[in-house]
């Protein structure tokens, strides 16, 4: 069950989902380097190259690539054939992927029909997560603003770009990790159940196989995309239901979790929560928090994807359409009836679902381990960047002129990778050449005047 044919890097993520570049499709077009929030991608030798330690798994490159060169590689073993003893745990976003033919209960049944031994929704995990977070927020231990750590891409963004906000992240495991631990407890027996997490995005896929609490990991993460066809085929074979039967629709918080604002409402924080979605927008809010401006904000619900988990990079359906489909189902339920029978005893056995280790910063933005060397590099970057035109065209393969200056100083690029610099050099080298264009000829024209 170990994934094969990996590109060498990150082979340590078995069972997960890997962001990979299909070299033959990449034309070096620079779309991805511009949207990457941590500047983790460069185009070198005409192909996109990713720096894993800066990558936060947000999936922006996947979304923007016009050539579909960025792809995800999943475990090559057949996801449909091997799961007869596996329990599928469905991310709340999954319920938004199947249109108006299927109600959530039918979707869960569908997973069992296509071969899983069982399919579970996330309710217990969500419920216990909310209770743990509620306790943490009222314990007085939290540093305002408390930042939700449910979205793993947001957590990675903080680790790479906003390490001073690590203490603001709520140190509670994600609902899916809590869910995995609960299921392991439930299925204690001679044979451990195989847990598969049906994910909407790259970040959750990675996080699912690298759990931060004991027993919180999944054996495999499978994008809903990989199971969509057999499921949709089965659902289409079913009689179309116009009205749900009793109990067919989970309580509102379960469905709403995939939509921005759902988490805050489930926590009872609706109005006293700062809600932000989209990785660029999240970064802007985190800047404000870092400046000390958001200390009056009790809770930040932040999602790396626009439209929350429905906007996940590995989903099938347009997130806004999916939101419409989900919202139209919520009318039948009331948020106030949210409870999880049996969850009572779970909290009382001392299980608080707090993270075992505090989250550590990732040295993604650091120029050098040695402060003196880093200062010298910064000084040289300031000098080198002056030689570039400041138009951030991306032709050099770096996301901006400043990034190119950094790459030059770090030894990853040359000044002549900038086409403007190259052009100028050419005209200087061959001043007598007729038709020499560019800056120099422009200057000489001005001199003549």
């Amino acid at each position: 069950m170990r994934p094969k044919s990996r590109t060498g890097e990150e082979a340590e993520n078995p069972g997960g989902v890997l962001l990979t570049l299909k070299e033959d499709r990449c034309v070096g077009c620079t779309h991805c380097i511009r949207v990457c929030p941590t500047e983790a991608i460069r185009v070198r030798g005409g192909k996109a190259r990713r720096t894993p330690y800066r990558c936060i798994d947000c999936g922006e490159c996947l979304r923007v690539c016009p050539w579909k060169a960025w792809t995800v590689e999943t475990d090559p073993s057949d996801p449909v054939g091997e799961k007869s003893h596996a329990v599928a745990v469905l991310d709340p976003a999954v319920f938004g992927q199947f249109g108006n033919r299927a109600f959530p209960r039918s979707i869960l049944q569908g997973f069992e029909e296509i071969g899983f031994s069982q399919a579970r929704e996330m309710r217990e995990g969500l419920f216990l997560y909310c209770r743990a977070v509620g306790r943490y927020l009222s314990s007085g231990r939290s540093a305002p603003p408390a930042i939700s750590s449910d979205c793993p891409a947001v957590v990675q963004l903080v680790q790479v770009k906003f390490p001073s906000l690590l203490e603001n992240l709520i140190p509670v495991a994600s609902p899916f990790e809590i869910m995995a631990r609960r299921l392991r407890k439930k299925f204690q027996g001679p044979r451990e159940p195989e847990l598969w997490y049906i994910v909407p995005c790259l970040a959750k896929a990675r996080a699912a196989t690298e759990a931060r609490i004991p027993d919180g990991a999944y054996h495999r993460a499978v994008p809903i995309l990989d199971l969509y066809n057999p499921l949709q085929a089965w659902l289409h074979g079913q009689e179309k239901k116009t009205f749900p039967e009793p109990g067919e629709i989970p309580p509102v918080p379960d469905l709403e979790w995939a939509i921005p604002g759902g988490q805050s409402r489930a926590l009872g924080l609706g109005a006293s929560s700062l809600l932000v979605d989209g990785v660029k927008e999240v970064a802007e809010v985190l800047e404000l928090a870092e400046n000390g401006l958001l200390e009056a904000v009790p809770f930040i619900e932040a999602w790396s994807c626009r439209g929350g988990c429905l906007g996940g990079s590995l989903n099938v359906r347009n997130p806004f359409w999916a939101r419409y489909e989900l919202s139209s189902r919520m009318g039948a339920n009331d948020a106030s009836d949210w409870d999880f029978p049996g969850a009572g005893e779970a909290g009382e056995d001392g299980d608080d679902y707090f993270l075992e280790h505090s989250l550590s910063p990732r040295a993604g933005m650091r120029l050098d381990e040695n402060l003196q060397v880093a200062m010298e590099k910064l000084r040289r970057i300031d000098e080198v960047v002056k030689k570039f035109p400041g138009i951030d065209c991306g032709s050099c393969g770096s996301p901006s002129c400043l990034a190119l200056a950094e790459d030059v100083v770090q030894g990853y690029a040359r000044e002549t990778d900038c086409i403007r610099v190259l052009k100028e050099m050419k005209t200087v080298e061959a001043p007598t050449e007729k038709g020499a264009s560019g800056k120099r000829s422009f200057k000489s024209k001005r001199k003549r005047r």
Binding site: K161, P163, S164, L165, L166, E287, L288, E290, N291, G292, L293, P361, A363, M365, R366, L367, D368, E369, L371, Q372, A374, M375, L378
Partner: protein
């Protein structure tokens, strides 16, 4: 010289830009998160002070192996009573500035809170020079 920024009085829209640049540069150096946070918070307050009260100013950041030092020089009305200005909640900001969410009288106290050393020199109707330092070693110890 590590970095220098020009700040224009009353330019509220750009409040935080100098601070943003400073943070990015300190992150590039790999300084500890606690130090970056303290410098950022104090520098932001200093930047806003220039925007709220002064005509224009310069924010300069210096760094050696002991500390980060920020110097903010402005051309403006100056501070007649520095001791009073240091008190929490004391503000001379006009009402429209308060409506924008600034001028709550927390600026200087916040700078003091987030720095290890601070000095204000001011001349009425000329301007103010504020200097503060955040020590590298001590703060790093506090973090642990």
């Amino acid at each position: 010289m590590f970095a220098e920024f020009e700040i224009q009085g009353q330019d509220f829209k750009r409040a935080g830009e100098a601070c943003f640049e400073i943070k990015n540069r300190l992150k590039r150096l790999g300084l500890s998160p606690g130090i970056i946070r303290r410098v950022a918070t104090a520098a932001y307050e200093a930047e806003v002070n220039v925007i709220v009260y002064a005509h224009k100013g310069t924010l300069r950041v210096n760094l050696d192996d002991q500390c980060v030092e920020v110097t903010v020089m402005d051309v403006g009305p100056g501070i007649p009573d520095i001791e009073q200005a240091m008190q929490v909640g004391y503000s001379t900001a006009p009402p429209y500035v308060k409506q924008l969410g600034y001028g709550s009288g927390m600026g200087l106290p916040n700078i003091k809170k987030n720095s290890d050393w601070m000095e204000i020199q001011s001349e009425v109707n000329r301007g103010t020079t504020l200097r503060f330092r955040v020590n590298l070693n001590e703060t790093q110890k506090q973090d642990r």
